[in-house]
Subunit: 190 residues, 2 copies
């Protein structure tokens, strides 16, 4: 079994002893790993989860205008990297509060999952009922606003995973039944 991807090796020194790393395939493994040349610790690089919500109030969806790169000035759903010690739902609610100052009631189970293998990320969104109109731009946000389904700024969305989540949500809302969706974002070669 060979290395299926070409993600750039990013580990140069051992986080346990500070010595130099070399990339080699350990015994009983089939992949190149960052292995310490002194203490032999194997350092694994694993995909990261981005968690967020599709916050809604009546027939409208809350979007955030990004105040940071990537996607400065573009619209997005509130989302960010999941932290150790929290659940997917806790992370999604936390990001919603941080970016949109909004309190939400999450709807289980998880709603939209998008794999992005070439950057080692999984983007996971929950549907989330906004408690009220008490929301505002957080530190990483220029503005927040509610959009009707036919008002979504499709040409100004920051991320493909946000587009996919919104498309699923609006299609499901239209037919009146919500199911979990899972997509894989492949690298487009053009």
């Amino acid at each position: 079994m060979t290395e299926p991807h070409s993600l750039t090796p990013t580990i140069k020194f051992c986080s346990q002893c500070g010595s130099a790393i070399e990339y080699r395939i350990p015994p009983d493994d089939s992949r190149l790993r960052a292995v310490c040349t002194v203490c032999a610790t194997v350092h694994y690089d694993n995909p990261k989860c981005v968690v967020g919500t599709i916050p809604f109030l009546g027939d409208k969806i809350l979007l955030c205008k990004r105040a940071i790169e990537p996607g400065y000035g573009m619209w997005t759903l509130p989302a960010g990297f999941m932290e150790c010690g929290e659940s997917l739902a806790q992370g999604a609610a936390r990001e919603t509060f941080e970016e949109a100052c909004a309190t939400v009631d999450l709807i289980e189970p998880v709603y939209s999952l998008v794999d992005i293998p070439h950057i080692g990320q999984i983007h996971i969104f929950f549907r989330a009922q906004l408690r009220d109109h008490d929301f505002a731009a957080g530190h990483e946000t220029l503005a927040v606003a509610l959009f009707a389904h036919d008002e979504i700024p499709w040409q100004e969305l920051a991320f493909n995973s946000v587009r996919v989540a919104l498309q699923s949500f609006i299609a499901d809302a239209t037919r009146g039944e919500f199911n979990t969706h899972h997509h894989v974002r492949t690298l487009t070669v053009s």
Copy 2:
């Protein structure tokens, strides 16, 4: 916002320059992070995904008897850490092949998700149709076997997330409808 967990800090040296780490809260952040005392790189520690399958053939489910710790000699579903560069489904199929030498057709969307915040893991299982009876114990497995729903060795399962996935699967199979399930495993204080 305070640190919601007590996971042990594990990063001692900077993976970029090899210098000593100190744990502090960076500007514009609210959590303790491993920050390099020389190059100022912030090192994040994120939850890891474990991916696997519930392989079935007719009315039976394939389980693997573990040849490694933790859970040596206990039964489990084929699963392991997701790798960078692969999708959730590719990781689940890879682990099924590595541990049970079995080829499966995965059923979308993802079926069982279990958050385990206190160890920073998410365990994600797909339902997976076994192509045939061509399966065998892989390197990390002592034995593989098919179990009818009333033959599952509940007292000898290696992991709670496997128990949860099997319970959901058997309940859904009994009522004849499968939906995605999401649970959070909280730390039991006894």
